[in-house]
Amino acid sequence: IVGGTPGNSPWTVSLRDRKGKHFCGGSLVNSKWVISTKQCFSSCYVDLTGYAAVMGTVYREPKEGEPSTQSIALNKIVCGPSESHLVLLQLETPAEFNDRVAQICLPPERYIVPEGTSCEIAGWGETKGTGDETVLNVAQMQVQSNSECNKYFKGRVKQNEMCTTSFFGGVGACEKDYGGPLACQNSDCWVLEGVIIPMRRCGHPGQPNIFIRVSMYVDWIKKVMEM
């Protein structure tokens, strides 16, 4: 995260490859499923042997035996509708919820988050020199309407995407944050409104951030989990 600060996000998980290396973020949408982005994987049929989701820690390289850390093998990958760039990852065993590991709720189907809603992104990705890359970083941002956002991106932001406002100093997601959450607060509830996807530049000053709008795919997420 560029321009973030160390923080807490109990639904954000770290996806690890066979060497245990963090490569992307994800969000726990229930105890057995993590949502992330397709760009983190080479295909929808990738062999997930040795891949895992790590949660319950703010450290990118938690010490062995740290009691709150959970590392759960990934069992299955299901790709979302083509334009969604989303994937659901099934965990081999359910995550145990506690004060460091929690699920985030899904928005209502086709719900549009009001402009100005307070949200945050979280991840263990690159900070481009703006912070400590050994811990989870979090950055707050506000929702921007698609019409406003399209003024900057010249109409390229689609209905299944959403934006947050820009910062003069540059704040945004970066390499290895992809797949992580844009979590927005609705009274005392945190809702997964967006999924971080790669952009051309990380935290570029004055540039809004674009996310996949999760509410467009809630029906698919529920269908996969039910089936």
Binding site: N8, S9, C189, M227
Partner: protein
């Protein structure tokens, strides 16, 4: 040039859980090769966990995973290496190194314990090096009959246990592209080089790049449609050699006729069995059983399931389409692209309106090209949505439909056991945008994401 790892079978992302911590020999910071070497040299080591994160740790263990006391669990930070002689269910040569758990002879008699002299007295005494454990079949004297034992039957002093030779245990059909057995020596007896190593021979067959070829350890495999399974050898002077593996005596199971095509081809045309016998430009093909004008390795009797009859266009090597050797000496091979692709193999030029709930077309493939499962059968997936539950949805055969009004278009259950359902290879008709997003009036969350946000003062 032999790697110490050749004695071991690797299980990626697995850990053998120690049941007695005091019997684990922990060696931190040594290389994988060194870990294997020391395990091979140790009398008490049969397997090792190689932990590579957060730091390198080699853990020697005196047992393997196929025993009752052992538990193997997944661990992304660790690979398990087990000595082949302890886990192999077959023998190489006379089986002097066999350390398996068979304890019955070929006639079903139970073996006598090696430490016991009753009912048969004998000269052998179990030691830490000779492997004479319990009453397991062994070959301490290098007998040609393979592993044997004294029997508990007073009338029968000893008998062979008939442990199969590894080269006979799993037989091959055709050219052995599906062979997944445990032979790790070539026809001349040379030991195979591990596929995950580049020494002594550099090669392209890195296991992670060919996940469907099962390039495990240093076992013989056939990733390139050679006539037989083969391997790179540990002899620097011999790059690769075929392996000696028994051919199955029964004819290979013919695929169901529906898999083969005669008038057109699907995919890369490996199942094309038609009678086109000239190239795209009209040059007659050379017969597969002839070696002139072009010498070639595709003998019909070796590639018996590839349909190499007469001089018909075929695809025995996974090329892009059926092909043949041409009858002209100047042109070795050519594709037979005049053979048409089957209609159901061509991406549909169909489209759906809205969310496709009223789509009644004949597309029956997912966007990844996987054939749809019939709506009215329950294999490989149990269909919760079927013609009985949704009689109005026109769930005919395995056509893509949208019985549940999925916003993302027609879908189907797939014939891939690993993919329950997927969206179909069909696009929304031009000019139609995605469904309009309607903001709900009141937001209700059934399950809520909460967290304990500590107060800043308390944190300080």
């Amino acid at each position: 040039h032999r790697s110490a790892l050749n004695d071991f079978q690797r299980s990626e992302g697995r850990e053998l859980v120690p049941w007695k911590a005091d019997r684990v020999n922990i060696l931190p910071g040594i290389s994988l090769e060194e870990c294997a070497k020391r395990c091979s040299e140790s009398l008490d080591c049969r397997a090792f966990n190689y932990v590579f994160r957060p730091s390198l740790i080699c853990k020697h263990l005196p047992w393997v995973g196929n025993t009752e006391i052992a538990e193997v669990k997944r661990n992304v930070n660790c690979d398990l290496y087990e000595m082949k002689v302890y886990i192999r269910k077959c023998i190489i040569g006379n089986g002097e190194d066999y350390r398996g758990h068979v304890s019955k002879t070929k006639t079903g008699r139970t073996c006598q314990q090696w430490w016991s002299k009753f009912p048969h007295d004998h000269k052998y005494t179990p030691s830490s090096t000779n492997g004479l454990e319990l009453n397991y079949c062994r070959n301490p004297d290098g007998d040609n009959i393979g592993p044997w034992c004294y029997t508990t039957d007073p009338e029968r002093r000893y008998e062979s246990c008939n442990i199969p030779q590894c080269k006979d245990e799993v037989c091959i059909t055709c050219n052995g592209e599906d062979y997944r057995g445990q032979v790790d020596r070539t026809v001349s007896g040379k030991e195979c080089q591990r596929w995950d190593q580049q020494n002594p021979h550099q090669h392209i067959y890195q296991p992670e790049k060919y996940p469907d070829k099962s390039l495990d350890d240093n076992y013989c495999r056939n990733p390139d449609a050679s006539p037989m399974p083969w391997c790179y050898t540990t002899d620097p002077d011999v790059e690769r050699e075929s392996c000696d593996i028994r051919k199955c005596s029964e004819a290979p199971k013919r695929r169901s006729r529906s898999g083969y095509t005669t008038n057109c081809f699907r995919g890369r045309g490996e199942d094309y069995r038609g009678k086109v016998n000239e190239t795209t430009s009209g040059i007659p093909c050379q017969r597969w059983d002839a070696q002139a004008p072009h010498e070639h390795p595709f003998y019909p009797h070796i590639y018996e399931c590839k349909g190499l009859e007469e001089n018909y266009c075929r695809n025995p090597d996974g090329s892009e389409a059926p092909w043949c050797f041409t009858s002209r000496a100047q042109m070795r091979t050519a594709l037979c692209l005049q053979i048409k692709r089957c209609a159901d193999d061509i991406e549909a030029e169909d489209c759906y309106n809205g969310n496709g709930k009223n789509y009644r077309g004949a597309v029956r493939k997912t966007r990844k090209g996987i054939l749809c499962q019939n709506w009215s059968v329950n294999t490989p997936h149990k269909t919760k949505i079927n013609p009985r539950t949704h009689p109005e949805a026109n769930l005919t055969e395995n056509y893509c439909r949208n019985p549940d009004g999925d916003l993302h278009g027609p879908w189907c259950y797939t014939t891939d056991p690993k993919t329950e359902f997927d969206y179909c290879a069909i696009k929304q008709c031009a000019g139609e945008g995605p469904p309009i997003i309607m903001p709900p009036e009141g937001v209700v969350f059934d399950e809520c994401g909460k967290r304990d946000d500590r107060k800043l003062k308390k944190l300080r």
